[in-house]
């Protein structure tokens, strides 16, 4: 959290309503998101109890395990879930576009990808566990389960992995996305409660948001009072209908909230880099779909050493890129960097568009721009700068003096003798320059997986689930 967000929280607390901390939306929103609200049985690691899901807010599907300790019912539930999720996923693999690449074969990329929206981080974690407990099952052999179950497990695992990938919109947790765009007047711990966060954003704080009788928890855990007074007797009665109705009362309020959260986010204009990140999501989705189609094994229980290091490096790069892109897309995010002196904004007070450097053939056009700013600039001379107003442009800080910053444009003003029209800001224009740039060091060279040193466990053996995996208890 930064001081700017802290200030927004203070303001929210003082005014009794959440304050914006973003001016644009930083996540992609699908035209047909799949809202997924899973519930688990308390005290168990991954015993599903119910899920409400669907792409139509007026027509949620409710899937219930009427006897949560019954293994067969649990797999039947997983098969039902697969019956809803897999067609949604598979339909999106059909339409593709061919992507040309430099130095590599072209590949097919889906024109749209699935998007799973869960209420909170707990929903993501439970999705990962559901994936883990189903992906190694087998449709044949001594402990057969419906064939769709292991496939479901692989997709759930994929979704949960994407949720951890910075900037990916394949799986969103509503509380996280809301928190990225609004600051409430409560602690981030309390923001994990979707009802509480939503009320801060829409109407102002309400004690009802913490009353499980008014707003049941958004899962995956249910309210202990509900468990004791409603659910346990319903399960005991043996009436599947009664259990389903009980769980519906717990899920419906959250169902409405998640859709409302989506509406709130949809009302924000989309950030300029969102489409680019979604393109990567589409590429990743097609990669996964191809993987499945080729009959590759399910994701391993744990990464080998090289795979883990590579994943970490990828995540770090994605995080850095995501941070920079958000700042370029959103003045409110850029303000954080202006506050710390890594960026500055202000009005152009003077320009020299024809400034050149060098003589003769090495003479280069280097337009100069002087910006007047109130920001506390903490950048040394010679710092490379970029600017959200002209994304391809490169510049260097020449001098900083009492709020007057001289910047020299070095890249992105055309090849002619004079600067291309519009490439040098005019006097009076508001501009922002920052040392944040979106070019990152290439990936650290990691050995191929086959060459993993023995100190790191040696080359990983491909993970082939065996009978033991397939029959692993799920109790």
């Amino acid at each position: 959290m930064s001081l700017l967000t802290s200030l927004a929280r203070l303001r929210a607390l003082d005014e009794g309503i959440a304050q914006p901390v973003a001016t644009v939306r930083h996540c992609h929103l699908s035209r047909r998101p799949m809202v997924f609200i899973p519930l688990k049985l308390s005290g168990e690691a991954a015993a599903p109890l119910a899920a409400m899901l669907g792409t139509d807010r007026d027509d949620p599907r409710l899937l219930v395990v009427a006897q949560p300790r019954n293994r067969d019912l649990r797999f039947a539930w997983a098969a039902e879930l697969a019956g809803v999720l897999l067609p949604y996923v598979e339909a999106l693999t059909v339409d593709t576009e061919t992507v040309e690449r430099k130095n590599a074969d072209p590949y097919e990329r889906a024109v749209d990808a699935p998007q799973l929206v869960v209420p909170n981080q707990g929903g993501v974690a439970f999705t990962a566990l559901l994936g883990r407990s189903t992906r190694f099952r087998r449709a044949d052999g001594p402990y057969p389960v419906p064939g769709s179950v292991p496939l479901l497990g692989r997709w759930l695992t994929y979704f949960a992995e994407r949720a951890a990938y910075p900037g990916s919109s394949i799986m969103l947790a509503a509380t996280e996305e809301l928190g990225r765009h609004w600051a409430s007047g409560q602690s981030s711990l309390e923001d994990a409660n979707l009802a509480a966060l939503m009320s801060w954003i829409t109407t102002g704080p309400s004690d009802e948001a913490e009353d499980p009788l008014v707003w049941p928890p958004a899962g995956p855990a249910t309210d202990p009072g509900f468990d004791a007074e409603v659910l346990a007797p319903a399960i005991e009665s043996g009436s599947a209908e009664r259990v389903a109705e009980a769980l519906r009362t717990q899920l419906e309020p959250t169902w409405r909230l998640v859709w409302q959260a989506i509406d709130l986010l949809a009302a924000l204009p989309e950030g300029a880099s969102v489409a680019q990140r979604w393109e990567q999501d589409r590429g990743s989705f097609s990669g996964m779909a191809a993987h499945v189609a080729e009959g590759a094994p399910p994701q391993a229980r744990r990464d080998g050493a090289v795979a883990a290091a590579a994943r970490l490096a990828r995540m770090e790069r994605a995080q850095a890129a995501y941070d920079v892109q958000r700042a370029y897309d959103d003045p409110m995010v850029m303000a954080e960097y202006r506050l710390t002196g890594e960026a500055f904004a202000g009005e152009v007070v003077e320009t020299d568009p024809e400034n050149t450097e060098g003589e003769g053939r090495s003479r280069k056009l280097r337009p100069l721009v002087v910006v007047k700013t109130d920001d506390p600039v903490r950048l040394p001379q010679g710092t490379s700068l970029g600017t959200p107003q002209r994304r391809g442009q490169g510049a260097v800080l020449v001098a900083a003096d009492e709020g007057l910053i001289t910047v020299k444009i070095t890249k992105g003003m055309g090849r002619g003798k004079t600067a291309a029209p519009g490439s040098v800001p005019e006097v009076g224009e508001r501009v922002c320059y920052t040392s944040l740039t979106d070019d990152f060091q290439g990936s650290a060279t990691l050995p191929e997986a086959e060459a993993t040193p023995w100190t790191h466990g040696g080359p990983p053996r491909g993970y082939t689930p065996d009978d033991e995996d397939a029959q692993e208890e799920w109790s």
Binding site: M1, S2, L3, L4, S6, L7, A8, R9, L10, R11, L13, D14, P20, T23, L41, S42, G43, E44, A45, A46, P68, L129, R132, S133, G185, Q186, S187, S188, L189, E190, E210, A221, T222, D223, P224, G225, D227, A228, L231, A232, R301, R302, P331, M332, A335, R338, L339, D374, D375, P376, E472, E473, W474, S475
Partner: protein
């Protein structure tokens, strides 16, 4: 009122704070939670006096949000029974592997059999006996499990009784506290918060056992700082044992308990007639006027932080108080740190708006806040 003088001894003073309300015994969970917010005087006093914070919060109209699902309780009990079945046979197998010990035999003592009033003395003599035999010339490869032992630990001059799940003792080796928990370890990983809580709790037992041994004239080092955590593995009920080093938790706990023995200082600052008495009627229902109790509590300094919401029964009461005071604590330690110790929301906003002149030492944070405010305004227009 007892009419105690201020210089009256702290134990009597604490009893006066509790008044006619029966003392609530500390359990390891409560003691472990002390470490979560060591700076809170309100909590230190309430715990020191043995006040039932849960009952107090309920009476004040701010019941704590900690319920446990019957499903979780059933599962926990089932799992514990499984681990302890057949005289802890399964547990023995795991410990053999984990501690790499050639244990062949196992003795099993269920301390609960002796009846509640004797349990504590019985536990002591069992431990005494076991510790003595470590010095015996011929160590035997037998392990002993003590089920339902009752340990004690002195908290602010009060004896708190504690019931660890199980204590294992290996001759020629050491005592190991065994904690049976029903959260799962999946592919070698468990919920870090759950593990941390278990470690804090186990540290309380280790400390209690060490104190007991010391009192009996034995080497407290006989109790290992490696506790054995037994959890279900993956999605099954099969138990798996892991060693957890609780040295860090022990250090925190010791520091906190020493602070608590200095409750005198906190007590000295309180008015003579202050009491947190709930005045229970014959049925145990509190009859003390709520406003009066709230007022008494408000004379003690709380140190609310959002973490209280998961660790202290008084949390909703203290949060409400923090709201009324407009304390920036409400927003969490991170915000508080960011504000460089500006404690009130109004003060921080005043500095940001420039309507308040910074006090000495606040110039830097005031400058930052003003800048932040300018930037926010610029972005929002």
């Amino acid at each position: 009122m007892t009419g105690l003088k201020r210089e009256g001894d702290p134990v009597r003073r604490l009893e006066a704070l509790r008044g006619t309300t029966p003392p609530r015994p500390h359990d390891a969970r409560a003691i472990a939670a002390l470490a979560a917010n060591p700076g809170c005087a309100r909590r230190a006093l309430m715990d020191g006096a043995g006040i039932d914070k849960d009952a107090a919060a309920r009476h004040l109209g701010f019941p704590a949000p900690f319920g446990q699902s019957p499903f979780a309780i059933t599962r926990g009990n089932m799992f514990e029974a499984l681990v302890k079945a057949d005289g802890c046979a399964e547990l023995l197998r795991m410990l053999r592997e984990l501690l790499d010990l050639p244990v062949e035999e196992v003795a099993y003592h269920d301390v609960e059999n002796v009846g509640a009033h004797l349990r504590h003395t019985h536990t002591r003599s069992l431990l005494d006996h076991a510790a003595r035999s470590t010095t015996a010339a011929e160590p035997v490869s037998a392990a002993t499990f003590y089920d339902h032992p009752l340990l004690s630990l002195s908290i602010a001059g009060h004896t708190a009784y504690l019931e660890p799940d199980l204590v294992a003792f290996q001759l020629g080796g050491r005592f190991h506290v065994v904690e049976v928990k029903s959260f799962s370890v999946i592919d070698g990983q468990a919920d870090p918060a759950a593990v941390a809580a278990a470690a804090r709790q186990a540290a309380v037992y280790v400390l209690a056992m060490r104190t007991t041994l010391e009192e009996l004239g034995h080497d407290p080092g006989l109790v290992s700082h490696d506790v054995v955590l037994v959890c279900p593995e993956n999605f099954a009920n099969r138990p798996v044992a892991t060693l957890v080093d609780v040295r860090k938790q022990l250090a925190v706990l010791r520091r906190q308990l020493t602070r608590m023995t200095t409750l005198d200082r906190l007590l000295d600052a309180l008015p003579d007639d202050l009491t947190f008495d709930l005045r229970p009627d014959d049925d145990g229902r509190p009859t003390r006027p709520v406003a009066e109790l709230a007022d008494a509590l408000s004379r003690t300094t709380a140190r609310y932080a959002p973490d209280c919401l998961s660790t202290c029964d008084m949390c909703f009461f203290c949060r409400d108080e923090a709201r009324q005071e407009g304390a920036s604590d409400l927003l969490g330690r991170q915000v508080r740190d960011e504000l460089g110790g500006v404690a009130s929301v109004a003060e921080a906003l005043g500095l940001a708006d420039g309507t308040r002149t910074p006090a000495e030492g606040q110039e830097e944070i005031a400058r930052l806040l003003r800048n932040a405010e300018r930037l926010r305004r610029e972005c929002l227009t």
